[in-house]
């Protein structure tokens, strides 16, 4: 009798140990329990997830409904009207402990009875972290919520929503938890997905409303609340409340439109109302006038400036010797030419001036200026193509930026090289600076026109990328870098003078050497070439810009 009196407390003690988060003690209590009634042992084993013991207990003849009811009563779980459900759920869960549906069902009934920790204990064996099923995750999320573990609840809700993104209830639950956690942004997103999954998710609209309110978007919050209220009367009070609370913030056109009490407020739509035929192009469409020329030029200049800055920072980034080489390149030509002609035993008196070095230099610098500019323009490599993915940037901007930058680099190098020659006492300042500047200007325009042509041709055939450098090498020998046209036999000289670059070289030397007056320089011939190349370049460019603007 005494033992019997203690027996009722045994199951309760096990439950209490579980609820105190002492599962080891609970298990020990069960182990020490001698001859427990089958029903109570079944409940205890289920609560402690001792699956191996369940089949034997289920087949015990002593197991009956009365015993189960007593066991549930002992735990304070069952009331008269829930008892049949609970017993059925208990048996279903015990019969197939691995199945999620009966387990979650039984756990939810226990949750409803207020024994949150017991429910958690039942659900945890089915919990597999991020791999859990939506049902288990959702049930645990609710349980944890009731236990005040909001972070865990949020995580489980997220897992549930991910496992079954089509179920609006899961998304609504997630949105609710996010709102509680002070994350209105993600809450809005989740609620939006709930509405996306089911257009008449009133709970979704209600949550959108709360989220928007949190973000301070009163007008849209009211609209969403109205929508929720229209979908379900449940949300009428909420809509009512935020309408009155924020009535003052609603813009009113004039006093006459002040809403009368009880009169339904005009709906402020959360979105733009449907606009039938929205995609039709209006017949009376007036295209805005193009921006005034001044502003258009300012915009292009700004973009070219930005491109140049970017190009400057990356031009030599591939090698540290890049800068050094850029400075040393003209000198290397001059030194090599001097060495070669010295070796060939040529007369060391230059055709013009006192020094072979300055004679070569005046030819090399303008040639390199031309060669660099026309070559760099062809390099529309991947990095440059990506520039074109910024819609504001056009191909012409890239070409202009590259050309100007190339020209500026070569001018700086030219200045430094001349300065170096002067320091070593073999050179002097140009005799006619203005003429030299004019020559560089014409050379720039000529090179730019040809660069345009090159850019178009190289975008059509990569063979041009290899052909042009060899063509430049030929130019090196025909443009008078290391000789004077007078040194050539007359018939060859006639051919050489067709090359516009010879005229550039001649112009450079005429500007540099005070007393030299070139017998061959034909500025108007050079200008014809320049204008011709500009027209050909821009025409080709304009005709093909559409095709060239392909991403690589």
């Amino acid at each position: 009798m005494e033992q019997n009196a203690r027996q009722p407390s045994q199951l309760a003690a096990i439950a209490a140990a579980i609820e105190a988060c002492l599962p080891a003690q609970a298990a020990a209590l069960l182990e020490r329990w001698r001859d427990p009634p089958a029903a109570k042992a079944l409940v205890a084993c289920l609560l402690l997830d001792q699956r191996a013991a369940l089949p034997a207990l289920l087949t015990t003849p002593a197991l009956d409904r009365a015993g189960l009811a007593a066991a549930l009563n002992e735990l304070g779980l069952a009331s008269d009207d829930t008892e049949p459900d609970l017993i059925a759920a208990l048996l279903a869960a015990a019969q197939d402990p691995a199945a999620e549906v009966p387990r979650v069902h039984f756990a939810s009934l226990i949750l409803v009875a207020g024994r949150h920790r017991l429910a958690e204990g039942l659900l945890l064996p089915a919990w597999q972290g991020a791999a859990s099923s939506a049902m288990v995750a959702r049930a645990l999320s609710g349980t944890w919520m009731l236990l005040g573990r909001e972070a865990q609840a949020l995580e489980a809700a997220r897992i549930a929503a991910e496992a079954a993104p089509q179920q609006p209830e899961l998304l609504e639950h997630l949105a609710g938890l996010l709102l509680r956690a002070g994350q209105p942004g993600p809450a809005l997103l989740a609620a939006g997905r709930a509405i996306g999954a089911s257009a008449d998710s009133h709970q979704g609209w209600r949550l959108v409303s709360s989220g928007l309110l949190e973000l301070g978007d009163t007008a849209e919050a009211i609209a969403a609340a109205n929508r929720a209220a229209r979908l379900s009367g449940l949300h009428q009070p909420h809509a009512e409340q935020i309408r009155t609370a924020h009535a003052a913030e609603r813009p009113l056109v004039n006093a006459a439109e002040r809403p009368v009490a009880q009169a339904p407020l005009p709906e402020v739509s959360f979105r733009a109302p449907p606009q039938p035929g929205w995609a039709r192009v209006p017949d009376d469409l007036e295209l805005p006038p193009p921006p005034p020329l001044g502003r258009a030029i300012a915009t292009r200049a700004r973009i070219i400036d930005a491109l140049m800055l970017r190009e400057t920072r990356t031009m030599f980034s591939n090698s540290r010797l890049g800068y050094a080489w850029a400075l040393f390149e003209p000198l290397s030509h001059v030194l090599l030419l001097s060495a070669v002609f010295l070796f060939l035993g040529h007369d060391s008196r230059p055709p013009i001036g006192d020094s072979m070095l300055t004679f070569y230099m005046t030819g090399v610098l303008s040639f390199l200026f031309f060669a660099h500019l026309t070559e760099r323009a062809m390099d529309l490599s991947a990095a440059n193509r990506s520039l074109l993915l910024v819609p504001a940037v056009g191909l012409f901007d890239v070409l202009a930026a590259k050309s100007v930058l190339s020209a500026m680099t070569d001018l700086v190098v030219a200045a430094l090289t001349f300065a170096l020659l002067i320091v070593f006492g073999v050179g002097q300042l140009p005799a006619d600076s203005a003429s030299m500047i004019a020559c560089y200007l014409v050379l720039f325009l000529l090179a730019f026109g040809i660069a345009c042509v090159n850019m178009v041709l190289s975008s059509y055939s990569s063979a041009w990328d290899k052909l042009w450098p060899s063509f430049l090498r030929l130019q090196y020998f025909t443009c008078g870098v290391f000789y004077h046209p007078l040194d050539m036999p007359e018939d060859i000289r006639g051919l050489i003078l067709l090359n516009p670059l010879v005229h550039v070289t001649e112009w450079m030397r005429q500007a540099y050497y005070g007393g030299y007056e070139s017998p061959f320089l034909d500025v108007s011939y050079l200008l014809q070439w320049t204008i011709g190349s500009l027209i050909a370049g821009t025409a080709l460019f304009a005709a093909t810009a559409r095709q060239m603007r392909r991403p690589a």
């Binding site: 942004g185 809005l188 929205w278 192009v281």
Partner: protein, 222 residues
Amino acid sequence: MVILDGVSKSYRTADGGRRAILRDATMAFPAGLKVGVLGPNGAGKSTLLRLIAGTEPPDTGRIHRHGRVSFPMGFSGTFHPQLSGRENLQFLARIYGLDAAAMVRSVIEFTELTVEMDAPLEHYSSGMMAKFAFGASLAIDFDVYLVDEITEVGDARFRARSVAAFRDRLRHASLILVSHNSQTIRSLCDCCAILSDGALIAFDTVDEALDRYAEMMGVADA
């Protein structure tokens, strides 16, 4: 507002044929409207977006753009990997005529990439890169935002701020969102069009478009 005026675009396929993305499409994307464009994979949604952005030319026809049109949101292809985050932002600021210092500040504030701002982008992790690209797109107030699928980047807190900031931007701008996900479209868009087999068809309501799309997909699956 963006207007397609008789725009055609096709690609040469590997077997020598041509695949039409758009056939003589004429359509307006009115100012302030959030337009979703649904289409099965491979219908050319991304190409349509590049056409609208102006980074790819149409074969024939014209595209009129009023206002500042964004590059596809969160797209990082415009950045130079060897330049630092700051330098890349300065470049964008110059291109769009904005105050570079203010733009850098707002991106730092938004992405919290403070120390990393001076490191070359090639050293960024893919997560950092995505944050950076998103922050940069948001720092410029475009009139038309182009979005190629919604991808969520960063942790929950960053996502929250992204959503809030993006919504805020959209309040005064229009949106053209291409996606194959009808949920995304439903949660963000006012109206919807479907791009399929070279035809761009506008529907009066999102629901109509989604129904039609579901029907199409059903046929395609069968």
